[in-house]
Amino acid sequence: MPDHDILIIGSGASGGMTARELTKRGIKCLMLDAGPAVDFERDRGTKKVFELPYKGFGRPGRFPHVTQANEFNANVWADEKKNPYTYDPSSPYYWVRVRLVGGKTLVWGRASWRLSDFEFKGKDHDGFGDNWPISYRDLAPYYDRAEPLLRVSGRKEGFRQIPDGIFLEDNSTDSESIQRFLAAAKAKNVPTTKPRRATGSLASSVNLLLPDALATGNLEIVSNAVVREITTDKNTGLANGAHFIDRVSKREFHAKARVVAVGASALESSRLLLNSGIANSSGVLGHYVFDQFYVKNVVTAIVPEARGGQPRRGLMGGGGYIPRFRNLDTKEKNFIRGYAYDFGSGGSPSAQYFPLYGEALQKELAATAGTQFSMTTMGEVLPRYENHVSIDKNVKDEWGIPALHIQHKYTDNEFNMAKDSMNTAEELCHAAGFEVLAKHWEMVPPGESIHELGSCRMGDNKKTSVLNQYNQTHDIKNLFVVDGSAFVTGGSQNPTLTISALAIRASEYMAEQMRKGDI
């Protein structure tokens, strides 16, 4: 079998971006993905809900940890029985995975925000944790390259906490209800902006990244390749490939390469390194797991003028974003760092909010149809050593590979932030003249935001980090981890854009090191 220059494990945002950057430089890449490739013509179709076996309820118990799963999209998500993991029952973790070529970019929410030095240099700002080994200035040129690839739309605002980028300018007008909310926020010095999102009917690795890489003739993709272990040369200690198992036949293979780049997603990449017994001289591999906490529908409100069943044209619709505004120039008493909101106008409040039933409920649902204004909080979770993943040797997946044990808890900093976000959201809605129907500050369980990060963090100190600033492991110079596991902090911004920018930067470094013969 031919040796490849680089073996890339994973085909989502980081794997796809790595393949695109390396193949265009003439580097021969072999990509392994644990799942099959989607045939969009064959694998998708329209159905009526009553034609489904469980009429939209979904097969009970199929996805205890994937609240995003419904009976229409159930076949997209990784099967939890075939891909088990464990946690302490007192600290549930919702690990949401997609095992298909393209990974989670097939289903992501597309929000694309840059991190800033409030994250990269967070320790300098408030003394907690560690800084990244890079600053915003180091990554800015790579954000500039990632945004056009993902076709990110947005509006330039000049906010320090979410630096502007290369956007498809969003000049859309706001509905009256959104204008009222923006005015209320402005009066309270709360910043707002348009959403920044990847656009297009599909915004995935499979249509934006992998086709370019395949077109070079330098990429081969092996689907259904469940990687068990990264292998190393006994004499040099360098990575030399990976053992993998065919997902369907369970036949075993070994792929050889000069360099290995792991982009299997945060936690999954660390699981692979832990199972391989490599890259952990620091002892921090698997530690400093975090994500972003979500308070879904922290406030659900009604726009009073929209009542009656048919809101007038121009009143409802649209949405926006409130970037972090806490602890920038002032200091909160009860928490450090900050949170952001998504907000949206339109849709109808759920029946659960009305303490009614029968005809009275139906009348109220008809009267409030299309009147909803809602906000969701996304908050920063502090990276802590004690939040970690390890191998559970007693549990194995369908392919006999030891499973992950995940230990992750939120702390008072997150709880206090969530409470503050509820109170602020309520205040803003009242100021906009909306009727608050429901409010709460209950965070979804860790992991549910699908923004799991860390566990293989980068840093300058080999004793406290796994990777250097180019996503290269300190221990094995031809082994890179290019996904969200490299994050040191995550802020409240959705991470995919930063994962993509980091993957471009790491790929450029890899290519240069290969050219020089250093790896």
Partner: protein, 193 residues
């Protein structure tokens, strides 16, 4: 009256949805050289489901609860016409055991409360008589919901009966007939190999 009869009366006019399967196949008869796709009919459109998980008293109470929580309107079928109770009997039978236990205990409670107050089973009382028994449904919403088991049951039943109704063949057929947007159609992902 059978649910299918109710559906036909609600639809009022003959339509493709109300025609027997063989009529549809006749209209779309393929040329001899083509491979035909055989038209079929859903089991629940042609046959009555068996009730297996609840005893007679529990099932009657669930059906009555559906009639009260999600009644039919002039335009749309309610839980009874949609067969919501029959569907939930199936769904709960394949659900984690604690969910079925919640329902059984809740339905027994409905019957015992009705007996205690009105000397009749829940299925025989009026909506007005049921209102004090259903008082937990008038409590304000909270994220975690009530701790009381009976209140939990009522909220679960309210949500399940409503969803089973609006997702039913009967409800969607009528909504479509009346030109309402909505519902019921989604992009489905087949098993990917």
């Amino acid at each position: 009256m059978k649910r299918r009869s109710v559906l036909r009366s609600l639809l009022a006019l003959p339509s493709i949805a109300a025609l027997p399967a063989e009529a549809v196949a006749q209209e779309a008869r393929p040329a001899a050289s083509e491979t035909p796709n055989t038209a079929t009919t859903g089991a629940d459109a042609s046959s009555d489901p068996l009730v297996r998980m609840f005893d007679k008293a529990q099932f009657s109470a669930l059906r009555k609860l559906g009639e009260i929580l999600m009644p039919a309107s002039k335009e749309t079928p309610g839980a009874v016409e949609a067969g919501a109770a029959e569907f939930l009997d199936f769904l709960l039978g394949v659900s984690p055991a604690d969910r079925l236990t919640l329902y059984k205990s809740g339905l027994d409670r409905l019957n015992s409360e009705a007996q205690q107050r009105y000397h009749q089973p829940f299925a025989e009382i009026t909506a007005a008589q049921a209102d004090p028994i259903l008082a937990p449904l008038h409590a304000p919403w909270s994220y975690r919901g009530p701790t009381d088991t009976f209140a939990k049951f009522l909220l679960a039943a309210k949500s399940d009966l409503m969803e089973a109704t609006v997702n039913s063949r009967e409800y969607i057929a009528v909504a479509a007939q009346r030109g309402r947007r909505g519902g019921g159609v989604g992009q489905y992902w087949y098993p990917i190999e």
